[in-house]
Symmetry: C2
């Protein structure tokens, strides 16, 4: 049964962010339009050349600075009842305004996605301040999803599964990659996403380009096709990859697909609280290396997912961070044979109290399509 | 007759950027995925946590650094035949890699939209360098559009005009704002846009919020509605605003609309090469102030447009920059009466040899809709 969804508790998130800042020795967190802003106060603003910034300081009430013309829009959002909204006008200097809302010096954490123009604007008016990425303060909060967030991620994943189940019932042979991509975009929305975010369709040799941009190449009989797509539903992202075969696969495709499937399973089995993120990467990589394809697995095993398509924790060698219950991320090993084909299999998983659960349920077998 | 479109000359743009950098005393321009990157090398990459950066240095060949897994995608783009592509791997440190591609110190210009995480990453490995916004180097190039770019902007504007002409033939009364917004998104794409970018529908009192987020409010008879929408076509942006009346307007709506229409015309008439950007703002503002609504015109008169929805030149008090032939920007004065209604009228214009031309042709009269 589906758990009833609680509204996001922005007040508690703001308080926790201030606590995290204090603990990290950060004097102010300066949050530009970004998933951080949505997470903390529920205000979804476009990043623009005009400065919009939430300031969170330990021991002080938070305040949101917006361009004058966006004051009504900000007030109508969840932020309206939550905190003070200050404004600046187009003919003024936003950085001079924000300077007076910040300590004279100290450590400021700026949201990872803040535009350079604003970072440099801040540095110009606060030359004594040390700037650090806000993920140092906010990642611990954002990476551990609560039950409501995991349910939203599960809903988005189920919608992506539905889009996959639908596309594999169609004929792909003879269609252009971009036509299949268009269908995936539609199916994501029709399955409940608010918007589609990406739609990789890599047929035959194009499958060896992990982030291939679908073009006018016609999908041929006997080819494998990498389908990697996702979108946003109620704020949270989906991201799934399956590799299918158009008609009977070659022995090599079958073999490589089996290696990737076993690598994906090994990584999934490695997930539990306390395990280092890089151990999950290592579990997938060992299977692929032992099969002799190590040089062809040219990316990390996965990335966190939530309000962002990519966010901490990153499942990559060198990241010793221990996994915790509530973390959600992709497991997506791949093998890319230049000039021939590629195979990638990706699920979103959530760390549970003693292991992990998959949020995607679409079959990981090599699906044969027409 | 439509001029045949020439392909964008990236080689010449790269050379000009290096010249501009030398002239500005900039030792390296570091360009992240952004319209700057599309402008310079035709590579349209998503901004992500993985570092992608073009480096342009006076006297040295440009180089593009991409994550290893995106090497094939970058090579398939216009960048492929244009410059060297270097890579870094997920398990490595992109900043250590880029450090060796940059001078030890000096002035680096970073693209205005580069994410803070990358700005801070660069600063950490090049603590002696001074960072400035790349717009200081690239604005002069990008703001003066060539004939091919102006034709692309005109095509995008004509498509936006078509979407407007279509929506006003429909009944708006009784529909929710978000339903009208959905229609505008569809019409933009059906009129030739590759994607819709924004779709403001502000009915009645919501029109007084310039960036209103269309919601479930039902549009009523006798109300005015601000429609501000645009998208991207062949890389270039459209942006048009009209305010319509659902049935017969009140005397006040009629009067305010007339003031805004005259202000928009006065600003348009003020445009010619050599005139300061702020004089165009002043021309619109004087009309509105003289009519007694000065306090209700709460934003600048316009913004440049091209590959970006908003880019230099900004038509705002304090910007003494002289206009030049080939510059393209919006002229969009507005009057916002809190709790009552708002009116805004916006065209995209191009500076010609001796004046300006409007790229939008939709009627600026107060259109009455059902």
């Amino acid at each position: 049964m589906m758990a009833p969804l609680m509204p996001h508790d922005h007040r508690s998130r703001l308080a926790q962010a201030a606590d995290e800042a204090r603990g990290a020795g950060v004097d102010a967190v300066v949050v530009a339009p970004s998933p951080d802003l949505v997470y903390l106060i529920g205000y979804d603003a476009l990043p623009l050349e005009r400065l919009t910034a939430l300031i969170v300081r330990p021991g002080t009430d938070p305040v949101l600075l917006v361009p004058k013309l966006e004051q009504p829009r900000a007030g109508d959002s969840a932020a309206g009842g939550l905190l003070e909204i200050a404004t600046w006008r187009d003919e003024g200097d936003a950085y001079q305004v924000i300077r007076h809302m910040l300590p004279r010096s100290g450590t400021f954490a700026v949201s990872d996605r803040m535009w350079a123009i604003h970072v440099l604007g801040l540095q110009a008016v606060a030359p004594e301040a040390k700037l650090v990425p806000a993920s140092q303060v906010l990642s611990r909060l954002r990476a551990r999803k609560d039950q409501g967030e995991i349910e939203l991620l599960a809903q988005a994943s189920r919608s992506a599964d539905q889009a996959f189940d639908r596309i594999v019932r169609e004929r792909l042979s003879g269609r252009q990659e971009r036509d299949v991509a268009r269908s995936l975009r539609e199916y994501l929305v029709e399955a409940g996403h608010d918007e589609a975010l990406f739609w990789i369709v890599g047929s035959g040799p194009n499958g060896a380009s992990p982030h291939h941009d679908p073009g006018d190449r016609e999908i041929g009989a006997g080819e494998s096709v990498v389908l990697d797509f996702g979108g946003r539903r109620a704020g949270y992202c989906s991201d799934i990859t399956r590799t299918v075969s158009v008609g009977e696969p070659s022995g090599e495709v079958r073999e490589v697909h089996d290696v990737v499937r076993r690598a994906q399973e090994a990584a999934f089995q490695a997930v539990k609280p306390g395990v280092a993120a890089e151990e999950v990467d290592g579990a997938a990589r060992r299977v692929i290396e032992q099969a002799g394809y190590g040089e062809s697995f040219i990316h990390r095993t996965g990335h966190g997912i939530g309000l962002e398509e990519h966010e901490p924790p990153y499942i990559v060698r060198g990241n010793a961070e221990p996994l915790e219950a509530g973390m959600t991320f992709s497991i997506e090993p791949g093998i890319y044979l230049q000039g021939c084909f590629g195979v990638r299999i990706e699920d979103i998983v959530a760390v549970t109290g003693d292991g992990a659960e998959r949020l995607n349920q679409a079959s990981r077998d090599l699906t044969i399509v027409a």
